[in-house]
Symmetry: C2
DNA sequence: CGCGCCTTTGAGGGCTTTCAAGAGAAGTGG
DNA sequence: CCACTTCTCTTGAAAGCCCTCAAAGGCGCG
């Protein structure tokens, strides 16, 4: 049931010709370094919609780069509770959660038929030790994951349903745009339930807010899944909490969550010269 | 109004004698490797309570290991909203958020007078390229950060106030215990407002739930800050959502947030032979 | 074409927030 | 050392946002 497209290379994946090279690899690699990088990827893996790339508890062996399609990752606590912790699309690196304990702590499932490039960690170790630029790039990718999750926590922590969904949509738009697709119109590969889980809302609330956005002319919908951001600016303002009128009930005070706690001043950057004195 | 900046401490820091060595450095380093590691830390830095180690926007130059004291890190969105994204205590590594973009995206502030060891990133780069064990350790630490945040997202996403606070307390207890302190009785260095911000609750709710726990004999309080977990087992059950009776209103259905979505099957671990199949 | 999953929409209730006030603790300066 | 200021914590009452429960329409798929 697969239609062969290119009579392509077989076992060997070639990064140098890959259109996504700038996403997985750092820019400006020398010829020699690029050659090293070639050895990073062993195979490409195909995951059918609904199948999982790995599951919580699986031994950590590789990192993966999304080559085609999209996935979600979910974490579940001791009890049955489960939550979507992220969506991954073309060019994203997946699997960092396994590095810590040697086994994965989350499940990663394909939202559609998907292909990923496999980076065996052992080989990654070897290559990154030789190529500083690659090592740095890897660190950058991990750090980006951390920062992204911090932003998400901000959403989950104190934002209203409207703000969360708006934030979700513009984030998605930005990521599509960064990959060369339209940031104005795209397809939501995930269900309302998955969006809700990701945002800490119920699927009903997601649906309701989506309808509200639709009524307010902020978005257009086609077939439920295809969405067009009719007013990205306002969506962005809503996400930032800067939108005064809001979409329904009038706004509340900008925050109040965390009143100023204490005066603060940076120490790390300042005066490393002042010496002496010990604890 | 400003706090006097404390004199930064410039002592020759020796990792080999450090009691916290097992937290910052991987176990089982050879003598030679340990010698390399010595070069990692340049100085120890002192931060007075309320002062910040670094702030959002500061250039990323170093990672820091908490040597004494405790800190919080906060992220703020475009608008004035601010949220605590983590608490750091002895042995924790801090600063990973800066690796991604080259500048920090969060603020880190001392909750009490604190000292941190400074790991200049450039030197870290050099040393880790030579010592694989150190490189791996660094990756592990970053990954652990990611996993920890995933757990936190689970809390913020769908848990009740009781469950969040219980989870917060037992997590804190575990961390103290892992560091050799009592996991039964410890001091909360952060305010209720900071706990609330971290958990996505208001300070009033934190206070209320804390009082509830007190009434139910789950904890003991002394001076508001000093806490003793009187019934850690039950706290753990509450955090996991396994506790039937709960502390007040009767429990609700275990979840319902994310009903089973699709059948799933792991692809990465299984049958690597059918991997190379091509698009 | 029918079944199942996803989505939408409504009504009611509950958990948290918001607003407010007072007690308690901590730091400051006389 | 104590009074003062300031911050933190506690507690109450009312309101609100979101969840839960329920039912029906839509869409894809076998």
């Amino acid at each position: 049931m697969d239609m062969p497209i290119s009579p392509a290379v077989h076992s060997r994946v070639t990064c140098s010709n890959c259109l996504l090279r700038n996403l997985c690899l750092p820019p400006g690699l020398s010829h020699r370094e690029l050659e090293c990088a070639e050895h990073l990827v062993s195979t490409r893996l195909r995951i059918r919609r609904g199948a999982s790339l790995y599951r919580s508890g699986d031994a950590f062996k590789s990192l993966y780069a999304v080559w085609l399609g999209s996935l979600k990752s979910t974490t579940s606590s001791d009890d049955a509770r489960e939550q979507v912790t992220g969506f991954h699309m073309t060019g994203d690196m997946v699997g960092f959660d396994g590095l810590g304990a040697g086994s994965h702590t989350s499940d990663v499932v394909a939202l559609e038929d998907t292909e990923v490039c496999v980076f065996p960690y052992q080989r990654l170790e070897e290559v990154t030790s030789a190529v500083p630029a690659l090592r740095q790039h890897l660190h950058r990718l991990m750090s980006r994951d951390i920062v992204r999750q911090q932003r998400l926590m901000l959403m989950l922590g104190g934002m209203h349903a409207h703000e969360r969904l708006a934030g979700f949509l513009v984030d998605l738009a930005d990521r599509f745009e960064a990959r060369g697709y339209s940031g104005r119109e795209f397809i939501l590969r995930m269900t309302r339930a998955e969006i809700g889980s990701f945002l800490g809302l119920t699927l009903e609330t997601v649906s309701r807010v989506m309808s509200q956005f639709l009524r307010d002319g902020l978005i257009d919908l086609r077939n439920v899944k295809q969405i067009r951001l009719a007013d990205p600016g306002r969506l962005r303002r809503i996400a930032a909490g800067t939108d005064v009128a809001k979409t329904q009930g009038l706004g509340r005070a900008p925050d109040a969550h965390l009143r100023v706690l204490r005066p603060a001043r940076t120490v790390a950057a300042a005066r490393p010269e002042m010496a002496a004195e010990f604890a």
